[in-house]
């Protein structure tokens, strides 16, 4: 899994390099970092507690389908 994260960081740097090179507008950078932020927020939420229930379980608990 560490390999995947390293790969993603490398791809992210390549993306950013290309975005700067092709002079993308500010909105592209904002959307890019916002989506990355969402991904990091989900991973922090999920990994912060090793006993946390899965998303499927949480959704099923909310709608009462947890028999």
């Amino acid at each position: 899994m560490l390999g995947f994260y390293i790969c993603m960081v490398l791809i992210m740097f390549l993306d950013l390099f290309e975005m700067v090179k092709t002079k993308q507008n500010n909105k592209t950078f904002i959307v890019y970092f916002s989506l990355m932020g969402v991904a990091i927020a989900i991973s922090v939420y999920y990994y912060s507690n090793p006993y946390r229930e899965s998303i499927a379980k949480q959704i099923m608990n909310i709608i009462g389908d947890n028999k």
């Binding site: 899994m1 993603m8 993306d15 959307v31 989506l35 991904a39 499927a56």
Partner: protein, 362 residues
């Protein structure tokens, strides 16, 4: 295929949808339909095709026979700008969830069938990185690949059907009596979840050149859908019976594994897994492409390819956090997600079509 622009033909678009639908048919249909229809499962295909044809009519009407660019513009046209945009964002969230579920099922399938000791994370990463490469490029390349592979998959399914005929027992498919009618009608419920693939595909209607032929082409491809579904249902239910099928995690894989002709042709499951992987790849890539395309259009960005890396990251995190194990995933997919599939793939387009008709905007 159109050569002057970066567009694909409606035939190619429907081919991608069908390849994605095959992934669902192979995994879901024999197992879930057998629960309701029992021996009469093979008849559900003929009943299930009726709502599917109605959806084709509704989608074609929503697209105003090709005048609308894509489905989210139809949403905005019918519901107004903001309500349409909110609905599109709901679709984006649902598609992200579908992406995570499909990737997880792909990984779980490999772990439970061939590579028992390999962690699911490995397969999730592999498919996401492979999909990322194709989604970064134009949809033309993906469509061309699917166009080439589509007849090969159809031929493989037909060959498997012919080879498995020797193990099909008529007692597993008969008798079908009037008592089966409620079960058969009920079993269209799992079938309707497939409709989503066709609905979601129209979100990239602006990339499709001859949208006015949608109804005609979709009807033609429905014939393939019926033949393939029938071949898969008969070979699985006919070989194992409806009771055993419900307890098997991968019924179609077991059918392929059991094929043995004259002690010469046997152990062809590796070929089966290959084609199954391609259908899963089609589903994952299609959903991935639509998510990035919708986000690009909603945020009015110049380039779509810069959204691929963040979506890969979100997709991966959701894939590993979606469920603790395959049983939970199956329960979630069969329960709440089946309802979501039907609402987003079938009910919302039909409701919008009714609203559009009342407001006389379509």
């Amino acid at each position: 295929m159109e050569k002057t622009s970066n567009k694909i033909s409606i035939k190619q678009a429907i081919t991608i949808s069908l390849m994605a639908i095959f992934a669902t048919i192979i995994r879901v249909i024999p197992k879930y339909c057998a629960e309701y229809a029992k021996e009469g499962t093979w008849l559900t295909v003929f009943v299930g095709v009726v709502p599917f044809l109605f959806l084709i009519y509704v989608l074609s009407s929503l697209m105003k026979n090709g005048k609308e660019l894509s489905l989210e513009y139809a949403f905005e046209n019918i519901l107004g700008k903001w309500a349409g945009r909110v609905l599109t964002f709901i679709y984006i969230l649902v598609l992200l969830l579908i992406l995570a579920i499909q990737v997880r099922f792909f990984a779980e399938k490999f772990c439970s069938s061939v590579f028992h000791r390999v962690p699911i994370v490995f397969f999730a990463i592999t498919i996401l990185l492979a999909t990322q490469i194709i989604v970064r490029a134009d949809i033309q390349k993906f469509a061309r690949f699917m166009e080439v592979i589509f007849p090969i998959v159809i031929i493989f399914i037909v060959v498997v059907f012919l080879m498995s005929i020797s193990s099909v027992e008529l007692k597993n498919l008969y008798p079908v009596t009037t008592y089966h009618i409620p079960g058969i009608l009920k079993s269209t419920y799992p079938l309707m979840r497939m409709a989503g693939a066709l609905t979601y595909m129209l979100f990239i209607g602006n990339k499709i050149s001859d949208r006015k032929n949608f109804k005609k082409e979709a009807k033609h491809y429905t014939i393939f859908l019926v033949i393939v579904s029938l071949a898969i249902i008969i070979s699985t239910i006919g070989s194992f019976g409806y009771k055993l099928i419900q307890n098997l995690s991968l019924p179609y894989f077991m059918v392929i594994k059991n094929i043995k002709i004259l002690s010469v042709i046997e152990r062809i499951e590796s070929v089966g897994i290959t084609f199954w992987t391609i259908t899963d790849f089609a589903m994952i890539a299609m959903v991935f492409y639509i998510v990035t395309e919708l986000l690009q259009k909603q945020f009015k960005l110049k380039e779509r390819k810069y959204l691929v890396t963040p979506i890969t990251f979100i997709g991966f995190i959701l894939t590993i956090s979606i469920s603790a194990n395959v049983f939970e995933l199956e329960k979630f997919s069969k329960g709440p997600m089946a309802v979501v599939y039907i609402i987003t793939g079938y009910i919302i387009p039909v409701i919008l079509w009714i609203i559009g008709k009342i407001r006389k905007v379509i």
